[in-house]
Symmetry: C4
Subunit: 308 residues, 4 copies
Amino acid sequence: MNNLRSSSERELGFGKVANSERIMNSDGTTNIIRKGISNFNPINVYHDLVTISWVRFLMIIFITYLIVNTLFALIYLWIGVNQLSGVVPGSGLHNFWEAFFFSSQSITTVGYGRVAPVSKLANAVAAFESLMGLMAFALATGLLYGRFSRPTAAILYSENCVVAPYMENSGLMFRIANARKNQLIEVEASVILSIKSMINGKEQRSFHNLELELKRINFLALSWTIVHPIAEGSPILGLTKRDLEEGKAEILILIKAIDDTYATQIYSRSSYGFDQILWGVTFNSVIRINAEGKTEIDLDKLNDHTAV
Amino acid sequence: MNNLRSSSERELGFGKVANSERIMNSDGTTNIIRKGISNFNPINVYHDLVTISWVRFLMIIFITYLIVNTLFALIYLWIGVNQLSGVVPGSGLHNFWEAFFFSSQSITTVGYGRVAPVSKLANAVAAFESLMGLMAFALATGLLYGRFSRPTAAILYSENCVVAPYMENSGLMFRIANARKNQLIEVEASVILSIKSMINGKEQRSFHNLELELKRINFLALSWTIVHPIAEGSPILGLTKRDLEEGKAEILILIKAIDDTYATQIYSRSSYGFDQILWGVTFNSVIRINAEGKTEIDLDKLNDHTAV
Amino acid sequence: MNNLRSSSERELGFGKVANSERIMNSDGTTNIIRKGISNFNPINVYHDLVTISWVRFLMIIFITYLIVNTLFALIYLWIGVNQLSGVVPGSGLHNFWEAFFFSSQSITTVGYGRVAPVSKLANAVAAFESLMGLMAFALATGLLYGRFSRPTAAILYSENCVVAPYMENSGLMFRIANARKNQLIEVEASVILSIKSMINGKEQRSFHNLELELKRINFLALSWTIVHPIAEGSPILGLTKRDLEEGKAEILILIKAIDDTYATQIYSRSSYGFDQILWGVTFNSVIRINAEGKTEIDLDKLNDHTAV
Amino acid sequence: MNNLRSSSERELGFGKVANSERIMNSDGTTNIIRKGISNFNPINVYHDLVTISWVRFLMIIFITYLIVNTLFALIYLWIGVNQLSGVVPGSGLHNFWEAFFFSSQSITTVGYGRVAPVSKLANAVAAFESLMGLMAFALATGLLYGRFSRPTAAILYSENCVVAPYMENSGLMFRIANARKNQLIEVEASVILSIKSMINGKEQRSFHNLELELKRINFLALSWTIVHPIAEGSPILGLTKRDLEEGKAEILILIKAIDDTYATQIYSRSSYGFDQILWGVTFNSVIRINAEGKTEIDLDKLNDHTAV
């Protein structure tokens, strides 16, 4: 292994530890457990709320709304519902629901007023609850904006990476496309091979940059087939399917682009395990000219391939 | 075709497919149909709502407001308007309107309270509606901010591109100006010629960078006439108006600048079809010193030209 | 004039027009009238509202609030205040004020309910007004955030630019400091001399880069004295105070830095007219070690200078 | 001292003043007092509110809420609580609390309506208060969003900097890790030594860049041990622990990275005083492969070290 390689290895920031799992998952997350990070740090909570799925996000908001209203309902019950005008005290459950809905009317600031606080204590709790509601809602506004404006590249990767004939030799290829309606411009790719080997009798991971036929395109208007020519200088040259399997090879991909809507730099990562590499196969075209002469790209066919 | 050209061709990201339409429209959008993109993905909906016109945006908000209130009105009718205090039940239509306006008072959180929910069920629906209203409004806040803060360059392009005398030879020229009150700084242009030709008996598009007399200016305080000298090395040298027409030539323009208000990078694209290129014509000046000695630029005259 | 100079001239983007006013004002705005820009374009209105002073901004909000409430009050009057519950119709003025305050309660969504809409028409207007209120408020939220988060460098410039002894020769110097509590890092300066001269019997402005002793500093923790050495190669070498006056010389300054709070690039511009250049004067130090051994910088003394 | 060194000194922007305190604190703030900066400038107030701790931020909001409601309560008392419907005038304190809670209901726009303004004057004050409430809340929304979306790198630094054996010689090392759940990519470090010495009989600070073994890593997935080899060319070569103490040496650290969530550039600064440098000590590993074969990093052990 030459110096160039060992330097690219260290620069990646993953170290040489030979763990048994993939370093990076297909969705770009890493397989590292970080201990000592508090989940209850406000910034980490915010980060989670911005990145979780929409279904979970809306569920969390709805459940929080129910819990907070229940807590305030209990406080109003404890103060006594007779301190709220408009409530005819009845059974415990009846009183609870009156308090619960009064709480919901205070926290959303809808405040119909059929039920309203009369005593000083009930007024103070309601005044605090309305303030809390406004702050919670300010937070939700920020979260929703954060979720939408976050510059996430929805780059689609072909499910497989193929080794296909290329020029006089062969090439390692995969295909990407933009899953969003925005334009991606100034798109750059870098591809790294991670492979285990025995160094001084100890199993270690090493990392190798894979040179690309083209590192950068102006627009990702259509799809882009990223090609690493398996030629002189390629660390894959001479390796067989079996070698990659034994070395638990992994292809790490970093994509950098500019999102046209907000003109922000975006980053996308992915990886292919050795078992996702198909040998002797080429991708089919995803682009066609339709009946009206328009160029059409079919994203559902991004992984379509034929044996050669 | 030399290597330089074929490389710039591939780097553009449009491929060589010889479709019959223009690649890029004057407003910078591309003529490509992307199948397999879901319009109902939240991010794509948000992207649409940020980029559609103001009239359509406000219409969508207003119509959504009517629809949502109608749906909730139907729910309250189904529960029974007698479960809302302050409503004197009457004809079906009368009840519908009472329920409709109660719904609007809940969703906007104005909650006058003349009509207010009494039963558990009505209260629960209203509590949910107020929460939904707050979330919808949080979303609208983000959308409005997104629409305004989006770094869109409102770059005005002259309607035509001209071939005018330049130095000893001639030059391909067009003119840009800033349609906004903000300052554009560090403005850069790149211009690409796309033309069809027969390669190995097959019609293909090729792409050629057009060298500019000046690629970058510090300020776009006035207008900027971007000039490609048709001299030694220019792919247009020797081509006639008819050649461009037969090759369905297209001039693609990419402008990059920094918007001074938010200090963000902005991008603008445009293109001229062969039919927008005027031969033997020069632009008139848009700048004059007025009576008080002030420099004045008239954006309405950006395309004014005279035959030479 | 050599080629280097004429190129820097064109790259600035101001053209050669010899107007009688300064090109750039001390606050970085330019003296150019742009005709054909609509002030009523939403983006330009937003831009104005983000950049005007706080006093004007709050005045505009308050006056708009009064006007909109007056308009809605007139609508409710026209419908008839008897369609609002809780209003005892009285004199025209009395009715107007009841309608006005009902409008304010609807648009802010406070909705006390003492006065509430009863008829379909009054309800419809109120429902529309609440929606409008929410949208206006969403807009205000965005505007306030825009005003605060806008990456504006509050760079203080010394009022004067001085020509003081420097090395064996002399230097043109001015001083900057950060007026904000944020940190400015990676601060870069470029300085351009604009001067009028007769070229082919026609008065024209030319532009010349002034080389700096130091173009970039890591932190703007203290103040920074930016120095152009008037040595071999300087376009000012040999010019007298009178030459600059006759050429209506202007020193244009562009500062680029990174604001640490939001990690955004910021830009600041300024200029000195020939009448702001002091000859044979040096700046006094603004930094001292105080009694407790702490470093202190006094921004009020940024322009303090002594004759040499 | 050679020219290279004196140039890096000037470029840092701290000047040569030999104050007795550390230039930079561990949290990256500088020990400089800036006079002439108004704390009451809106931008500085906003900057403070975005950067103070969460506890102080919420306290300020809560106390402001109490103060503003008290002020408005006094205004309503002065007008007369009999001008508010629903209030049964009583003792002074009773009236105050009724006015106070009416104010809180107006400013949060909850507006139950049990108490509502009747007279023109009370209505006008309430209309103004609701508007003010909305604006205050708009501001709070922006502040909360600003606090969360601010691209702050929560980079953990090892408490100490060590001088440990490295290659044939020794090296100055410290360790960093990411305290957040986001990914930090393209992480760059620069390290500067600041030391006092007698120059021409006057005590002055000088600044020296410390060359790093590796300046940049792609991911900060695990921890990163930043190493300055104390070899040929290092300004520390030959210096003893005592020399650093006498020169009140300080190690200044600047980290630059990209936060993956918002794809924004972030900056982190820190410093080690001479008393934080441990000699003859090496860091223990923080990474281990756990029972399930997963890579684990323990941030609590970032400063763990052993004597050599």
